[in-house]
């Protein structure tokens, strides 16, 4: 699980500083713009008339922005919607339908994590389609209106330029909303149906099931018998029996007693009927627990090195991503998560610790078995530590270890978790690697308490809300660019903003000189002269010039990186695909980010449109 830790960010803590930075930027932008406008006016018309004209402009702008009429804005939004329909938005929808229809051929429900695969597919497909559409619609509309002179009949009505810009943004947002809504509904059905399957039992397995059932009735023990389902979608399950959970309904259908293990991220329930005569009938349920929205409680991560001393980080094992730090097996090294504000009423059934560990093997060991790890809890106040259990790690697979509320340690102590280990709501969870010469890798978000599960359907909707926000953001940029650029150029600019936002990481690294092969010009030279990216270029004048130009380019990229939105903050696809709840705080953060960009884009777009001679 490689979700960045940003989903642990607290909205209440984030909003204050973020709003401050935003306000400073916006005020600087506004003041800068007003000064520029004034300077131009003074240069063109002289100091007195220029100042007057600049003040007039500001006055008119204030009126235009404050006295926006909903009626006219809605009329313009309606026009935008009709225009979008004429531009064959329907085609995008058709493309989506075709993609989904054929996706069944290349998406393998028998793969390791089919739910993740299916969810990633629908979320990625919809977001790319909708964002691409948003680029084209928003960037082309206003330039076409100006080129066809249709805008002349609009601006000679009592319409404010602000209403034209806002109407556009709202209209496109409405089109996108309907489109996304339809796509979300279809996606949901597609995922459910794509993952749906049932297992059956061979005749032998049926017999064994019947034996197991009879045994279980008699002495509550089913040891020694392992029953497997048949193989569907490339996997089979092992069946467990727990008669204590059984319920019977009026039709005589018995539920709850027979479940399967978890394979490929899901499990099944086996219901059965015991007829008066003949054999017991077993019926398999559709997959369960494969579409999740886990609500994690994250802890703070720190490390102990092999000698047991405190360390900021674990070991770096080389070309693994630096997000994870590694701890050495068979030593005193440990990864420690400290959790806060735990209450016993949150965890009536024990403390569910869920983890996804990276494993780095220096030797093969027993490749069939997982590298063993040990899980302990420690009271942060008293320093008292209790070993919970040793487990076999499953590399990069999510594993749930429930720490019981009461357990026995190896030396015979009985531990009451909340009484003995939790101090003032705080608890430490210690993870060690048992096998010598092997390593466990963990990052902050890799181990968490799975307090509860939220509704998957709601999480799915939130995931699409993220795409919706991205679409609104792109629409804002598109409309902004279209107020002063011609259609094709506006498309390029908007597309550039989209790419920059999607790959904002890369842009940052370019600007920080962290990419191999140097800046754009140097890279170009390397491309043309076919040189390797790590060797130094010969110290010629040419190289010096190239490096100087790159330096300038890097400054620009740094600036652009700072001005572009980070689209990853708005993309919740991973949350949905990996089964994590998108918290309301995260969603609120995304909404604020979107507004923080779309608001100024609207004002700027208005200023450009207002200053523009539309009939020129």
């Amino acid at each position: 699980m490689v979700l960045e830790t940003f989903h642990a960010v607290n909205f209440a803590e984030w909003i204050g500083p973020a709003a401050k930075v935003w306000l400073i930027a916006v005020v600087a932008l506004l003041v800068g713009f007003a000064l520029l406008r004034w300077l131009f006016a003074v240069l063109r018309q002289g100091p007195a008339a220029g100042t007057l004209s600049a003040l007039n402009f500001l006055w008119a702008a204030a009126a235009d922005l404050l006295l926006i009429s909903p009626r006219r804005t809605l009329a313009l939004a309606g026009l935008t919607i009709k225009e979008s329909m004429r531009r064959r938005v329907v085609i995008v929808f058709a493309v989506f339908l075709i993609l989904v229809a054929f996706a069944g051929w290349f998406l393998d429900p028998g793969s390791n994590q089919p739910a993740r695969l299916y969810l990633s597919f629908v979320l990625t497909t919809t977001s790319y389609l909708v964002l691409l559409l948003a680029v084209f619609l928003s960037a082309l509309s206003l330039p076409a209106d100006i080129r066809n002179h249709t805008i002349h009949t609009v601006v000679t009505k009592p319409v404010r330029p602000s209403e034209i810009v806002l109407g556009r943004v709202l209209g496109f947002a409405a089109v996108g909303t309907v489109l996304l809504g339809l796509m979300a509904a279809i996606s949901y059905v597609f995922v459910l149906r794509g993952l749906d399957h049932k297992h059956d039992f061979s005749a032998a397995a049926r017999e064994q099931l019947a034996v197991m059932w009879r045994d279980a009735r008699r002495n509550d023990s089913t040891q020694g018998i392992a029953v497997s389902t048949d193989r569907v979608q490339n996997h089979r399950h092992t069946v467990f029996f727990d008669p204590a959970q059984e319920t019977v309904d009026e039709q005589g259908v018995r539920r709850g007693a027979i479940r399967t293990d978890t394979e490929n991220g899901h499990e099944h329930e086996i219901q059965y009927v015991v007829p008066a005569e003949g054999e017991v009938q077993f019926v398999c349920s559709p997959p369960e627990n494969h579409l999740l929205a886990r609500v994690p409680i994250y802890g703070k991560l720190r490390f102990k090195d092999r000698a047991g001393k405190d360390a900021d980080k674990g070991v770096n094992v080389g070309d693994e991503w630096t997000y994870r730090s590694y701890i050495q097996g068979g030593s005193l090294a440990a990864a420690i998560w400290t959790f806060e504000n735990l209450r016993d009423d949150q965890f009536p059934d024990g403390l569910p610790v869920e983890m996804t560990l990276g494993v780095f093997r220096t030797h093969k060991g027993d490749i069939e078995k997982g590298v063993p790890g040990s899980l302990s809890v420690r009271n942060p106040a008293t320093g008292d530590e209790a070993h919970v259990r040793t487990f076999a790690s499953r590399e990069f697979q999510t594993d749930l270890q429930v720490i019981p509320l009461e357990f026995q340690t190896g030396d015979g102590r009985t531990i009451n978790l909340f009484r003995d280990m939790v101090a003032d709501g705080k608890l430490e969870v210690w993870l060690r690697c048992v096998a010598p010469q092997q390593y466990f890798g963990a990052g902050q978000a890799d181990l968490y308490l799975r307090a509860r599960d939220a509704s998957f359907a709601l999480n799915f909707v939130k995931g699409f809300a993220g795409i919706w926000l991205q679409m609104v953001m792109i629409t804002g940029f598109g409309v902004l660019f279209s107020t002063f650029l011609s259609g094709p150029i506006a498309i390029l600019a908007t597309g550039g903003a989209l790419l920059g936002g999607l790959f904002s990481d890369f842009l940052y690294q370019l600007s920080q000189h962290k990419v191999f092969g140097g800046g754009p010009i140097e890279a170009m030279i390397r491309l043309v002269t076919q040189q390797n990216v790590v060797t130094e270029l010969p110290p010629t004048a040419q190289t010096t010039v190239a490096k100087m130009l790159d330096k300038a380019a890097e400054q620009w990229m740094w600036l652009i990186w700072h001005m572009l939105p980070d689209f990853r903050v708005l993309s919740f696809s991973d949350h949905v695909a990996y089964g994590f709840d998108i918290s309301w705080g995260l969603l609120a953060m995304a909404v604020c980010q979107t507004l923080a960009y779309v608001g100024p884009a609207f004002v700027l777009g208005y200023v450009f449109l207002k200053s523009r001679e539309l009939a020129q």
Binding site: H149, H152, T153, K157, P158, R160, E613
Partner: protein, 294 residues
């Protein structure tokens, strides 16, 4: 005529520049004009003389290089004045994906009109410009004349006090031209002020009270049409039922007074008059009819 000035331009000047800010065309040079309430004012001039430029400057679609234009005493860039203005562009630039009804409904929504009034006005205007049968068709299917009509309808959607008509008769058939002229006169009679421009002399002569003649962006002549056109040293006599002898007698009277007779003939109707008469008759009595062969 009331003296209230509706449009005022003060040394209005427009220089078109290219992308780099270099001067390209001096389209309008220091124009001073007053248009008064209730009159039909005509801008007359050959192609490229700056008529459209003047109208666009008055509407705020272009920014003046120098001077200023005031409408209802407000600067041309002011939005609120637009509530009282109707504008028919040179070519009807309308949304081709809307039909006539949708078009008028859209423009009507841009004004503060109650729903019922809006509905009624859309209905009335479509009837007034004779597009009832085509009102559900997209404008992309319209002929030039039909587009012109719907363009006129959108200019009238707010029942404006002031109308700016750029070449209102181009693209219309003779009937349309006649109807357009009648409509303009009718609107004037309702008290509206009209500024129209045209390069067609007959249009301007037929409807305008006052005209300005532009050439290469300069104002060449300004005044009342009747006084501008009055030929003071000529007299026209028109009569009906005169016998040949009577005509001869008149000739002699003219000669006796030492004046010169320029012509004495049967007048020919203009082709426009003939055409309009035939079409009107045909509308009243449909069917095939061939008049005398010449």
């Amino acid at each position: 005529m009331s003296a209230e000035v509706v449009i005022e331009t003060r040394s209005l000047t427009k220089v078109y520049r290219d992308f780099w800010g270099r001067r390209k065309v001096e389209a309008l040079k220091a124009l001073d004009l007053d248009v008064r309430r209730g009159e039909i004012f005509g801008l007359l001039g050959p192609n490229g003389s700056g008529k459209t430029t003047t109208i666009k400057l008055i509407l705020g679609l272009l920014f003046p290089t120098n001077g200023e234009a005031l409408v209802f005493g407000r600067p041309a860039g002011d939005v609120e004045k637009n509530a009282r203005i109707g504008y028919l562009p040179e070519e009807s630039y309308l949304y081709r994906f809307l039909n006539a009804e949708e078009t008028l409904d859209f423009y009507a929504r841009l004004f503060r009109l109650p729903r019922a009034v809006r509905r009624q006005r859309v209905y009335d205007l479509i009837e007034q410009v004779g597009l009832q049968r085509a009102k559900r068709r997209q404008l992309r299917e319209y002929s030039k004349g039909m587009t012109r009509r719907i363009g006129l309808a959108q200019a009238l959607i707010n029942d404006p006090e002031l109308l700016l008509l750029d070449e209102p008769t181009t693209g219309l058939d003779p009937i349309g031209i006649r109807e357009m002229k009648d409509l303009i006169l009718h609107l004037r009679d309702q008290g509206k002020t009209i500024l129209m421009c045209s390069h067609r002399l007959d249009d301007v002569q037929d409807v305008c009270d006052r005209i300005a003649i532009l050439h290469q962006g300069e104002l060449k002549e300004l005044g009342r049409v009747d006084s501008l056109l009055k030929v003071r040293d000529m007299t026209e006599i028109r009569a009906t039922g005169l016998s040949e002898e009577a005509k001869e007698e008149i000739r002699q009277v003219i000669a006796r007074h030492g004046a010169q007779l320029l012509s004495c003939d049967n007048p020919t109707a203009t082709l426009e008059e003939l055409f309009v008469k035939i079409i009107r008759e045909s509308e009243e009595h449909p069917g095939r009819r061939v008049r005398g062969v010449a």
